[in-house]
């Protein structure tokens, strides 16, 4: 990472912003992990270990596709903005986009 910063000086600002934002999310109370996934379900950036990341990325990518197609089937002018899955142990939040997917796993306060 450090090498990159020196060879491409114009870009780090952007990257820094991205990093900052992701760090901000990660530092929220109760957040266990954050994963950024591309459009095909391949993780780009993660704070969890790689096997868990791959598991979450694959499963949630498919679920998001299904959810999105469901929403659009019901009303073609509608679109999925946010998906929250609440389980006994924690809550998984997914924000889809055209190209990317951001997944955050949080342990709710109680």
């Amino acid at each position: 990472m450090m090498k990159r910063l020196f060879t491409q000086p114009a870009v780090p600002q952007q990257q820094a912003e991205v990093e900052d934002t992701l760090k901000r999310i990660q530092s929220h109370k109760g957040v266990i992990g954050t994963i950024v996934v591309n459009g095909e379900g391949i993780p780009i950036r993660t704070t969890l270990d790689s096997s868990t990341t791959v598991l979450y990325a694959g499963l949630l990518h498919q679920l998001t596709l299904k959810a999105r197609s469901t929403v659009r089937d019901i009303d073609p002018q509608n679109d999925l903005t946010f998906l929250r899955i609440r389980s006994k142990k924690h809550e998984i939040m997914v924000a889809p986009d055209k190209e990317y997917l951001l997944i955050v796993i949080q342990n709710p306060s109680e």
């Binding site: 990159r4 491409q8 870009v11 952007q14 990257q15 912003e17 991205v18 934002t21 992701l22 901000r24 999310i25 929220h28 109370k29 109760g30 957040v31 950024v36 591309n38 095909e40 379900g41 391949i42 993780p43 780009i44 950036r45 790689s50 791959v54 990325a57 694959g58 903005t81 946010f82 929250r84 609440r86 809550e91 939040m93 924000a95 986009d97 190209e99 990317y100 951001l102 955050v104 949080q106 709710p108 306060s109 109680e110």
Partner: protein, 885 residues
Amino acid sequence: MSSKRPKNRASNKAKEKDKKDDTDFPSPDESATESAPPDYIFPLVLTSATQELFGCRADEDVTGENPYKLLKKEDIIQDMKTRAAVSDFSPVKHTVLEYPEDELLLVFDRDFTYGQSFYLVLTAEAKENILKPSVLQGEDVEVMEQEEEEEEIMPKTPESHPWISLGSEQEIEKESFTDSRPKLRYKISRLLRDFGAPVRFSDRSALDGKEGFVECPSYQDKSFSIRELQRHTSVQATSNIKHSSTQTLWKCPKNMCTQYEPREFSADEKENHLQSENLKNFIQSVVIRFEMALQQNHIMNVFCDDWVALCEDESALTGKTETQLKEYQSFTDLHYSREKTISHLQWHPTISGVIAVAMTERMSFEERIDNSTKLMLNPSYILFWSFSDPINPQLKLESPEDVLSFQFCPSDPNIIAGGCLNGQVVLWDISAHVERLQGTRSGDKNTINTLDKSNDPPVVRYCAVSGIENGHRSPITDIQWLPETFEVSRLGSPEENTSQISAQIVTCAPDCCVMFWDLRAPHVTTQSLTETKNKKKTEEMPLENPHGVPNTFKHLNLTWKPFIRVSLPKIGTSGEYSPLKFSLRDNTVDYPIVSTADKPPPNSEREDGSGFGQLPSGKEQKPLEHISTKLYVGTEDGELVYTDWKMEKDNDSGRLYSAKPSHRFILHDTLVNTVSRSPFFRDIILTVGSWSFAIWKEGVMNGPIVMSSCSQKMYTAGQWSLSRPAVFFIGKEDGSIEVWDLLEKTHEPSQTQNISITPITCIKARSISSKQHLLAVSDGLGILHILEIPWTLRRSSSNERKNVWMYFEKEEERLLYFHQRKLQHEKEKEMEAEELRKMEPVLPQKQDEELQADALKEYEQYLSLETITLKDTNLLMGTDDASDL
């Protein structure tokens, strides 16, 4: 109407065509939309006279359907000449004179579209055009005219015409029915004499004659044999379809596996993605939603089910005030309970519904001495009661003397150890009679055991009894088994118990001793455990021996002696404490232990330097580090002593002696009759003295964390509730039970209930099932009462444990706080006293000076007083004046 429509369309089209050609000239149909008259139209008012003259009377000559009238130019000019200015046509005089043609068109404007009832068309072209719709070139005109006419005719009601015959009435006549002659009437009836005559039936064969039966044979009906001459068929060409199937033959099974790994990006690609603009935008747009969601979760739990949370806190849903202990059953025996009292009772640990009680004579010491011969002849018993039979006890355990306390062995419920009045420890083995006990167990039903009708329950003799000279010298008041988790060595240090069988007993008696006994053969305890482990296994552990009763502990009989004798020397003074009850720490050990550092139970933090905590860990497996060897002892004098049972070696003489107890608390005035630990908290102890009770916390050495006020009646027994951490039961001298709920009230019991008339001797609780919790209460008359604990007392609320814990902590803090305050007070007092002492030497000096000054003053005053009085009484010497003379 529908047929008219296309014509309409055609007419419209034609009109539209006109319209397109001459857009200036609107057709009469469209004239309604126009408001301002165009130039060629001149609205005219025609008086009735003019109308008659020109033959264009409104609604007569000229109607709405036929509004056009061609007026001769000459006529108009003539009119104008005759009437000059009065003429209606005067305004258009010019136009008329200039008009090229002979005839002008006058249009009756029914609808007043141009403001007047008539209008004159001023130009020839307009005239032509207006008239065009009605005078069109070719057939279309006629058709349109006809259409218009027809359309105009339609609304007219049809006029009736006479009917023209076309020959149809003859056909109708042919088809219709008419009577050619009048109808004939016949009336047929039977002869009158046949009415009511008896009927005679006879047989007739169906085959007689041709009229016998009627046959309807089938025949080929010609009308149905139609020869098909023509037939319509359709043929379709399709492609060739062929069905076929195949089956794979799995001749050679072969294992196949697929291994996959997820697709991942390399580091470079990840970098590329991370730096892309798209990602940045995406993240920024999405972050807002996330923050909202994260914060929402933070603020409150949306999915919390209020209903469920509500009912937990509320009291019983039944609404009934079932707070009383209901009497479930009571046991008393005619033979064995007479004049006896129950000293101790215990529930059978494994068989539910079986309870054992120890019967002792209700005599004081002197009476015992007096009746000693009689007592020797009558052995004392421990009776086993079962719920199925309330009249006859199931089993009787015979003991040499009255048993004051006994307990079932935790690892083998067939072994029972009891402590006698004379200081002996007695062992029983009831393995032979377990089936009887189990067979009679029938839970709640009170079925009398009809199979075994023997009224006399079997008697089990004791299999071993300790030696009299080696045992206690006073009645054994408390006996407990050590749990199977650890053993105690000769030195008192706990070691792991690999056999997982409880083999050691601890007893205490008011002879100021706490003794440890081992069930195994005596020589085992002196050697190291590694050697004797094998020997133990080969030597037929007495507990594994399934032989009859007498052989079980034969090796111990009459020679049994304790291997550790812990004395309780008094702190500060000489003498010893006389224990009545004791309570050991409930130590749990995890097996197998690989390293001693794993999973320390909570008690490990609480021990204060018992000496063995500094042993090297890891390899040494035998001694257990985290067992607390401290025990609380309640004494005869109402003290609670906290001591360590580990023996210390006296370096000089090599003898083992026990250390002085670390703490001692005087609280109760008379003997302590219960020292029991709470089943929920390992370090909370309840001690019940005669007039009060106290709750102690192990580790808090200042005093009890909760102390009750003195009660009116003596307390005789105490027991924690098994299901609710805040509840405990206290038995009183007047036979009533107090239920104390620490979360409800701490200054008085939450309820009191009278059970019997004689003092309660022992209380033990037991949960039979989740729905039934029973409390066994024994009283002074020898009656065993079984009470059912109501729902409110057995159901703990969700936070009860936490609340009780917090309450205890609060009390502890209070205690510490007050202790601190007390210390502070003392310090302050000392400081004040010092200051006072400092102040004292200064004052007396001052006082001396003052005293002197005061004395001088007084003396002077006295002198002056003296002179005055002497003067008054003329007794003053030396000052006589010559004036007196």
